[in-house]
Structure formats: structure tokens, C-alpha cells
Amino acid sequence: MNAPDRYERFVVPEGTKKVSYERDTKIVNAGSFTIEREDHTIGNILRMQLHRDPNVLFAGYKLPHPLQYKIIVRVHTANQSTPTQAYTQAINDLDKELENLKQAFEDEKIRYEERPKQGY
């Protein structure tokens, strides 16, 4: 009866920003990104990629509530960087990694098809 529409889970409502950044008021180089209509798929890869950056002192994400279709990514960095820089870099790195993976798959498919058919 009062269930939210299914599309609510992935369609960003009009007038809402997909990503918004809010600086922490007490700590320098800390803040949280609120990403609308995303879940663990994006949250977890972003968090893990941020962990690879030594300038990132803290990175975590949460899905505040299963019926609030957003995630909050909190980042705290050292002085050499800022949360926004680290965040952008993480996305760039993941994007390049996936571009690479796609190419790797295409190459491997060609190699696989050339490989003599053998019983595994």
C-alpha cells in the first residue's frame, strides 16, 4: 500500500544533486560525500580505492537506512591532500582500472578462441 515506487531506488529525483560534499566543521581535511541513489556497489569500491591512497587517513561509507536510497562516504586526509582530491583520484583510478579490465577481457577472448580446444 505505502511501499515506495521501485524506481525510487535508482532514479535521482529532479532538483536533487547526485553528489554533494559537506566539510567537517571541526576537523581540517575531513568531510563527507552524500551520493544519491547508490549502494554498496559504488560505496565499497570507492572506500577500498581510497584506502590505497596513503594520504587518506580515514575512509568509510554507510548506507544509513535501506529505504533511504543514498550512501555517505566519509573521508579524512593528511595535509598533502583534500577529501575532494582523494575522491576524484579514486574515481579516476577505478575508471582506468575498469577500462584496463575491459581491454584485458577483449584480448583474453581472442586468445581463448585461438587456444586449441581441450577437455578441461
Binding site: 524506481y7 531506488r9 566539510r23 591512497d53 579490465l101
Partner: protein
């Protein structure tokens, strides 16, 4: 502590090895990446790679034993060939038809008309009775039969083409009739499972099994046998010639710890050491036939990249906002 300047790349370069690739099945190894990416790929394959499925049904005549919505639901679950889905539009953001979902860019129309003539045989209405208005989109088993009849390039396995009976929708008794119009639309599994192209997508960590040979030699043959038997899956075996315990199939291991417990119980801790390699994954992908397994993998990567692109900071927030705040806040 010395920290690098911002803007240094920490990109990884994953490696892939395909073990098996069929039309609707793939098994491959993914290395040099981490579980978060493997899981993201899995999640995207299941819930976010688009396909086409029947979404709107207008029933003209239905005198069958099943009610209208029951039939509409069954129609929705029929997998349709969706190779074109990536290029199609979602009807909710289609400009050509203002999202009412009835134009060539975002929908495909189907017709079905079946009537059991006056004979004692029940008539089985199947997916083969669905008539599509777009040859690119049709029920998957119809596509197989069609490709088979053409004798042309065959994207799907022909072995199954021998008995094309279609997917049963409803059975009609003498005099009963079913006539309807259906509209298929592009969608994703997150919206409704009928749009999911994945039958199963799983991945496991590659196990690394080490046997302490020195300790193993202190075991009698019977002890070795009971050790091998203790694993619920056939991971180990005894070499008939050397009577040594060998790893027969590491991937059969289900991380159940039974052999390790057994070794401990035998008073030989450390006899067998099993590690999950945290950067190596073995994927199994099976599709419904809507798209091929290879397409599913490639589309998943594309969709994930699109998602990442969508969560980039826009120019009006982010760095400028940070700088502005600094300037104001001093």
C-alpha cells in the same frame, strides 16, 4: 611520515584468464584486484545490466483458467533477446514518446492470439506464440529456432534447438481463447528480477593449499586415508604409487576447515595450511539467454564505469567549494 603529493595514481592492472566460454556460461579467473571490485562486478551483472522484458500487457480476450495479472506476470518472466538493450532508451527518459513507452527507441510490441479449436486436445500457449514487431527482440528460444532455420551465424547453442517447445504460458481447453498486446521495455534487475540477465553469478577466492610434507610423513597410510576422507568435498587424494597425500582439486575446497580440524584432532597442527588468495577470484557466470555471458561481462564493466562517471564531483561543488570555504573561513 613522508606522504606523496596528492594526485598520485594508485591504479591496479587486473589480469584475466578465461577458462570456459559458452553462449550462456562463462568461467574465468580474475587476478590482481580486490574483493570490492569483484563484488561490484557481480552485483552489477545481477542487478544493473539492462535487458528487455514485457512490462505492459493489454488483454483483449482471456477466457483461460488463469487470471489476467497471472498471465501478465508469466509473460514478464520470459527472457527476450536483449543484445540491443544497451543502446535502447529507458522509457522513463525517452524524449521521442515522453516516457509513455510506445516508440521504437524504448519499446517493442508483441501480439499473441491463441484459441483452442473444437478438439479434445488442450492447447499449450507458449512463448513461441508471441509475435514480435522487432526481429531483434523475441523470446530467446524462438531466436534459437530462427537462427537454426536460417542456418546462418548462430549466437546460441544449437544442440538445444532440436526440441523447441517454448516456454509454457497457459493451457487452453476447448473453446477458450487468449488474445493480447504486450509492450516490452528496457529495464534493470534492480527494478524487477525479470530484467536480470543473470541466472547465477558467483565468485570465490582461489585457495592456496600447502601440505607440510615433513609432518605428513609421520602419518600411517590409514591416518592419511582418514585425513583425505575428512574433507566433505574431494580436495585431496592419495597417490597410488608414492602413497603421498596430494592436492587433487584445490577449487573443490569450500572453506569448511574440516581437514584442518581433523589434523588438529590427530595431534598434528599445521599439517595442512589453507589460505584464500585475497587478490585472486574464480568467477562463474550464467545468463538467462537474454544476452551472452561475454556480453554480460562486458556490459557490466561498461555499466559500472557509467555509474562511476555519474558520481564524479561536478564543477560547482567539490574543490571550488572547499577553496571558497577556506577563503571565507580564513
Amino acid at each position: 611520515m613522508d606522504r606523496p603529493a596528492a594526485g598520485v595514481s594508485y591504479q591496479r592492472f587486473p589480469r584475466v584468464r578465461i577458462r570456459e566460454l559458452k553462449d550462456d556460461y562463462a568461467k574465468f579467473e580474475l587476478r590482481d584486484t580486490d574483493a570490492s571490485l569483484a563484488n561490484a562486478l557481480r552485483r552489477v551483472m545481477i542487478a544493473e545490466v539492462p535487458t528487455v522484458a514485457i512490462d505492459l500487457v493489454e488483454i483483449e480476450v482471456n477466457s483461460s483458467v488463469l487470471n489476467d495479472e497471472f498471465i501478465a506476470h508469466r509473460l514478464g518472466l520470459i527472457p527476450l533477446t536483449s543484445a540491443a538493450a544497451m543502446a535502447m532508451r529507458f522509457s522513463r527518459d525517452c524524449d521521442a514518446c515522453d516516457g509513455d513507452g510506445s516508440c521504437e527507441y524504448c519499446s517493442v510490441e508483441f501480439h499473441l492470439a491463441a484459441r483452442a479449436t473444437d478438439s479434445d486436445q488442450t492447447l499449450e500457449v507458449t512463448s513461441n506464440d508471441l509475435r514480435s514487431t522487432d526481429p531483434k527482440v523475441c523470446p530467446v528460444d524462438q531466436a534459437r529456432a530462427y537462427q537454426h532455420a536460417l542456418g546462418g551465424s548462430e549466437p546460441f547453442d544449437t544442440a538445444a534447438a532440436a526440441d523447441q517447445r517454448g516456454i509454457l504460458i497457459v493451457k487452453l481447453r476447448r473453446g477458450q481463447e487468449l488474445r493480447l498486446r504486450a509492450i516490452a521495455r528496457k529495464g534493470i534487475g534492480k527494478d524487477h528480477a525479470k530484467w536480470s540477465p543473470a541466472a547465477t553469478v558467483t565468485f570465490m577466492y582461489e585457495p592456496e593449499i600447502r601440505i607440510n610434507e615433513e609432518l605428513m610423513e609421520t602419518l600411517t597410510l590409514d591416518e592419511k586415508r582418514s585425513l583425505v576422507e575428512s574433507s566433505p568435498t574431494k580436495v585431496f587424494n592419495i597417490d597410488p604409487n608414492t602413497q603421498q597425500v596430494v592436492v587433487e582439486d584445490p577449487e573443490a575446497y569450500t572453506y569448511d576447515d574440516e581437514v584442518i580440524k581433523k589434523a588438529d584432532a590427530m595431534g598434528k597442527p599445521g599439517l595442512i595450511d589453507i589460505n584464500a588468495k585475497e587478490d585472486s577470484f574464480i568467477f562463474t557466470v550464467e545468463t538467462t539467454g537474454a544476452i551472452t555471458a561475454y556480453e554480460l561481462i562486458m556490459n557490466a564493466i561498461t555499466v559500472l564505469r557509467q555509474k562511476l562517471d555519474a558520481v564524479r564531483l561536478q564543477d560547482d561543488d567539490g574543490d571550488l567549494g572547499e577553496l571558497g570555504a577556506h577563503l571565507v573561513g580564513g
